[in-house]
């Protein structure tokens, strides 16, 4: 616990690393930081155009909400494998708490995510204005920070775990891409959660073990007013991210002492 609190002392470093992370991503490009907004804008536009052209019957707003949440998750998990291993000289020569690495990686991605949420809100308002889509923004909107915290806890937990794994097992990096592909289809992004509930039967409980299920569902509730299922098991699964955060960080703190030996 002390070691977790100690990290507050390193806020300057975390801020520095987050800024460095963001700055370097767009270094040298003409539009620079604007890309964090332009990217999701064009993504939404392209989905919009092609779903129309191809007449695919997918609810665009709920697809976009799912995809943005998924992107935050994917960015964190794919960045996490290199969060430690990309910094051998820092690991071998400095002594600050290693949790700084996954944490600053997650925070940098969080900032990108928040900016893409602004684009999402703009897009959704335009969409409802011009296409008669009714969005019931209401009480659930005040839950938004809570949902973001939930997902951030989740990616930090997984991020710390996989960052650690890649130090000891270089294969983690390659397993990750396969894992993420399967995970994508196990998460209600291309399809509504209701569909799984109808067809999966008893396996639905198992399906709820995927912590991204409550995350995506809650975002849809917040932005689109699509209510989550009322099963108590669903609310229980909302606690999963915190469990994963605890487990991931505990594992990380146990292993961090020996990172330098492995590099």
């Amino acid at each position: 616990m002390n070691r977790i609190l100690e990290i507050i002392k390193w806020k300057d470093l975390i801020r520095n690393l987050v800024l460095k992370n963001l700055r370097i991503r767009y270094k040298g490009s003409v539009l620079g930081f604007l890309w964090t907004m332009i990217n999701p804008m064009f993504m939404m536009l392209i989905y919009f155009i092609f779903l129309r052209l191809l007449r695919i019957a997918i609810d665009l707003p709920s697809l976009l909400v799912g995809i943005l949440a998924w992107q935050y998750f994917v960015m964190c998990l794919s960045d996490s494998v290199n969060a430690i291993t990309a910094h051998p000289s820092l690991i071998k020569r400095t002594s600050f708490p290693r949790l700084v690495f996954p944490l600053s990686m997650v925070l940098a991605n969080l900032i990108n995510f928040l900016l893409s949420l602004i684009v999402l809100v703009l897009f959704l308002s335009g969409y409802s204005l011009f296409f008669g889509y009714t969005i019931t923004l209401g009480l659930p909107l005040i839950l938004l920070p809570g949902v973001i915290i939930l997902q951030t806890a989740l990616v930090l937990g997984f991020g710390s775990f996989f960052a650690c794994c890649n130090v000891y097992f270089k294969d983690t990096e390659h397993i990750m891409s396969i894992l993420l592909l399967a995970w994508f289809f196990l998460t209600p992004i291309m399809y509504p959660l209701e569909k799984v509930r109808e067809s999966a039967g008893q396996f639905f409980n198992l399906y709820l073990l995927n912590p991204m299920v409550p995350v995506v569902t809650l975002y849809r509730w917040v932005f689109l007013g699509i209510a989550p299922p009322t099963s108590p098991l669903f609310y229980l699964s909302c606690l999963l991210p915190f469990l994963i955060l605890f487990a991931g960080v505990t594992f990380f703190l146990k292993k961090e002492l020996y990172f330098a030996d492995e590099m």
Partner: protein, 404 residues
Amino acid sequence: MKTIEAINVSKLFRLRHTGTPTLKSRFVDTIKRRRGSEDFWALRNINFSAEAGETIGVIGPNGCGKTTLLSIIASTMAPTTGRVITRGRLASLLELGAGFHPDLTGRENIFLNGAIMGIPRRTIEEKFDSIVAFSGLDHFIETPIKFYSSGMVVRLGFSVAIEVNPDILLVDEVLAVGDQAFQKKSSRRIQRMKEAGKTLLVASHDMGTIRRFCDRVIHLQNGEIDEQGVPAGVVDNYIQSAQELPDGLGKIAGWGTMEAVIRGVKFRGSGGNGKPAYRTGDDFSVEIEYFAARKIENPVFGYAVHTHDFQLCSGSNTQIDRCPIEAIEGPGLMKLSLESLPLLRGHYLLSLSIHSQDHNINYHRQDYTYPFDVVSSTDRTGIVDATSRWDFRPGGEKGPGSQG
């Protein structure tokens, strides 16, 4: 006050034979019931402490555990057993500018580096000007450091580490950074830190540095403390112990890539056993037995003679003396001769080296490694025997040499 305390510190490394572990290598090792690793104790039961104001040198051959010990004190590595207690702010010069990012400017990197050392942003802001001034890089501070020369990067890293005023400074082989002027400046600065009661821990192969800076020296051998005490005694014993074992690369004094090594040195024309002794005006010659593990093209052999207080008396190499060597491979002999030694009585230190023509690769350097004495029958003082003569002419009578 004790600023560093190491209590029973040991460090076990698991050496893998197959590089980084992958799923496959672990799998194959399990199937074949083979252990993919070997245990290696890099440090065993290290006990020592350092007082405030003390400068401690750590010496020993390559692989003796110097860097591991410093890493554990800097707490970048955890000891396998035992513990290290440090009091006060610690800065390490283990790798200067470890946290530098090439795309960021000098200014941004100063702040980043400070943050890595856990120094509050406010402090860095206050010290910013003196950091830049010390580094001498004020013209380049807004330039991304990827455009810096390697010397400039090191200077910047050194300046940050030293300007934040640490209580404990760990130094690994980097006292010689930057150009001559910067080296002088940093030596003076380190001297001032000593006077201000800071603790310095210096790991080096350069016996000159060790003798000059340190109050106490720890000699590590195979991960254990072989001897600790005053520099003169420990360094001399280390040099001698290193010479006693002419075979086996790890046990030769000096440092370098060890692709070519000086295996043995025989002083010719000096009398008998013990420390070689010469007379002023004697022909001084040294036979160097070398061994090149691979073919090395255009190597250069060099020598230097210093007084016991490290003033350079004379130095040269095969390049300067126009004795080009096409290549060396395997064993061989090189003979160095100085005709009629022009040194006056005193204790001297001979350094030898094998390096590349551009001095970028040091195959083997033995700095201040071979002590020898010079005795002279004359009472002239100084270092150099200038064969002085006097011509006395009272009354202004014209001498034979003058025109008239």
